[in-house]
Symmetry: C2
Subunit: 145 residues, 2 copies
């Protein structure tokens, strides 16, 4: 994998962008304050998110970042892989030579687990996670799931 702070921060930051009705760009400074994430760390993450075309940037005063995609069209896997490399538990990373040229006792297992996690994260898009959040905050909004 790994699924760690880096991926979580990326998803959180994207959620922040998606929440703030995005006609106006959002500065990293705002996200940093709202989500309690180090500004300089956000800079690194957004460089990667931009390379992955998930966000676009506007420079200068009044500038900031905007989503470059519809929240319905971004899966969590895309976000996480954009900053986090890959979701792959296999020691051999697919080459099947984990144990002296052969595949190890648990090779197939780790393939399955990786697929499961990736599958789950791919089945969720930004919009759904936002909806989930507001549902769980007891701000009952009628959802069209």
């Amino acid at each position: 994998m790994q699924l760690t702070t880096k991926g979580r921060y990326a998803v959180t930051a994207m959620l922040d962008l998606a929440s703030n009705d995005s006609t106006r760009p959002v500065t990293l400074d705002m996200i940093s304050q709202r989500q309690n994430i180090s500004l300089s760390y956000l800079e690194q993450l957004f460089a990667k998110l931009r390379k992955a075309s998930l966000v676009k940037s506007i420079r200068g005063p009044g500038g900031g970042y905007l989503l470059n995609v519809d929240p319905v069209d971004v899966t969590l896997t895309e976000i996480i892989e954009a900053v986090d490399e890959n979701i792959d538990l296999r020691r051999c990373h697919g080459s099947k030579n984990c144990l002296r040229g052969k595949q190890c006792l648990s090779h197939h297992l780790w393939c399955e687990v990786s697929d499961q996690i990736r599958g789950f994260l791919s089945s969720r898009n930004l919009q759904q996670v936002m909806d989930d959040y507001y549902t769980n905050q007891d701000i009952k909004v009628k959802l069209t799931v």
Copy 2:
């Protein structure tokens, strides 16, 4: 989490134990050679597996380790958590105070992901993984799934 080499090694070692028909104890030295894992690292892992009552040890010449449970009764979650702490992606680890005392935008999400992974790993026992392995090695054995 994390799902990393440590957890993989533990599962692999348990699979090795389960494969070797376990009337005779298996030495860590044997597992180390067969699975290509450092002996001293195995010692650390087996200390934890023993504390979790997943294996039992026999000292002295002819000694070694034996499974302390039926392979059908050990889930992968049990093994991994025995050496790896916990499978929990949440920053707050459940206290729901991830963001200034409140739960963060993606709190519910990480609960779900953690549950998914844990659920999957809990649905698999040692025996199944062994069977899987031999199936995928083209040693076609009739399985009762």
